[in-house]
Amino acid sequence: MSTNQVIEELKKHISAFQKTVEVEEVGTVIEVGDGIARMSGLTSCQSQEMLEFPGGIMGVALNLEEETVGAMILGEYEKIKEGDTVKRTGRILSVPVGEKVIGRVVNALGQAIDGKGDIVTKEFYPIEKTAPGVMSRQPVGVPVQTGIKAIDAMIPIGRGQRELIIGDRQTGKTAIAIDAIINQKGQNMKCIYVAIGQKESKVARIVAKLEENGAMEYTTVVVAGASDPAAMSFIAPYAGVTMAEYFADKGEDVLIVYDDLTKQAWAYREISLLLRRPPGREAYPGDVFYLHSRLLERACNLNKEHGGGSITALPIIETQASDVTAYIPTNVISITDGQIFLETDLFFKGIRPAVNVGISVSRVGGAAQTKPMKKVSGKIKLALAQYRELEAFAQFASDLDVETKKQLDRGARVVELMKQPQYSPMHVEDQVASIFAVDSGYFDDVAVTDILKTEEKFLDFVRGGHQSLLEKISKGEWDDSIIADLKGVCEEFKK
């Protein structure tokens, strides 16, 4: 386009421009502080509507009372004064959605904070949206491969499921979620990691780790840092799931991690108390259950008529001194389709990931497991259960009968096999092969401490000469001939 053309085009635009008198509805700030403001006026303000304070600072109306409107402020509330004019925008808080957000680090409002330029998208979705209804859903049927043996084998997660990761601080909750994201490479999954109230240094480390493993190509990181206002921590999970919904609507599968919802509940409690809503148990407001249920209900597995997309949610809850009976943990446990318990004791015993398989469950994931995994994992679940029962008893008994001894030995080996270092997710076919080998007793003569080393050697051996067998397993095939072949491979390896 030549300069003249541009000028002509501009002239046309400018001459076509209509002068209009703008009607704005306004209010006045009566009270401001600690991230909230109370205003008079704004007579027809909607709930959850965005309000504009002087200087372009945005707020969200939360409390609509007889005389006043209470709002949380998204941004620097220090600059707002009593008597300032507040404008209605008529818009509900929205975030940009689209392919452009993939690979980026954004704040709770969807603005880029990674220094790679602004995110320009065509579409904006409101952050609060009703979850899909009964008629648009279907049961979980496709697995999410986390790449973690203990989880894929015993606490399987399906696409569209909500699986809670719960445990004390420093038990490896984030590690499980990050490993799951890293393992989604090439699995046709988009991932969204929502960091709520976390140290910026921790988030930077996670982003670096994701980049290192090539996971940022399909991942968005939504950050509401520890120094951001509580309002940001409160809306960050909703912003994340809104971005996920864009892909789910297009029929894609999304994995979203909320790290962690305890901090979101704290942020919401702070805002609610400042807005003078009555406190309830543990000083949380009455609707703190709804806070999490409406968020997690948006995880879904849509049926074919609705595009067939899915959102799998992995919320994280941090407990204090393993107290899972506190208010927020019980709420979220009751909302989700199962939970992965992580324990400090196990962590310090060297069992990492420190998953307590005994009390961890996945209520719907079993339906999504591939056939080979379902067959081999059933047996080890039993072996582990028996092992745990005998373990305590065996501490007092010096001489045990052969059968008990065998069960103990097998159990110890299964426990050892479930150990897995961080950032080393495994393919499902490898998991099946090694679990099969241990379960069939081929590793019984290997010292417990050498199990992982032997497993590695074994997998190298299988990959070396029997790649086709692994391919069959990864496709979900499992019959007598494959079992026989696997047995053959194990025996060959033993020689």
Binding site: F17, K19, E22, E25, V26, E66, E67
Partner: protein, 128 residues
């Protein structure tokens, strides 16, 4: 139950409407007594402000706040007054940032016909 300033002001308006001077004295005295009893003396100024708005509303008085970039002619002010009703009080304000045009504030609405906003709108229409 907590009684709001607005409710006090409304009550006062309804009590005082059409009273003669001597009755007014008694009503006001009782009203102040009530305020003291309800620990509302501190709120007196706010209640008076509420009372004024109620009074203006009932008597059909419109209060405008007209902001412009330069001093406005009396002629223009008169025109503005005429278009908003019979009894109009105008408070004038100067804000150089508007560049030109006027901005009228009436209750909790702002009618914006300033050059600044028009330019901002033009910019918006050109960028997208």
């Amino acid at each position: 139950m907590k009684i709001s300033n607005k409710q006090f002001a409304e009550a006062l308006y309804e009590l005082t409407i059409g009273l003669n001077a001597s009755d007014l004295d008694i009503v006001l005295k009782n009203f102040v007594g009530l305020l003291a009893k309800k620990h509302k003396i501190k709120q007196t100024n706010n209640i008076i402000a509420e009372f004024e708005t109620i009074l203006k509303k009932k008597q059909g008085i419109v209060e405008l706040e007209v902001t412009s970039a330069r001093d406005l002619d009396t002629e223009i002010i008169k025109k503005i007054k005429e278009s908003f009703g019979k009894e109009v009080f105008v408070q004038e304000k100067i804000d150089k940032n508007l560049i030109g045009g006027i901005r009228v504030k009436i209750e909790d609405k702002i009618l914006d016909a300033s050059v600044k906003t028009q330019l901002a709108n033009l910019k918006k229409s050109l960028t997208i």
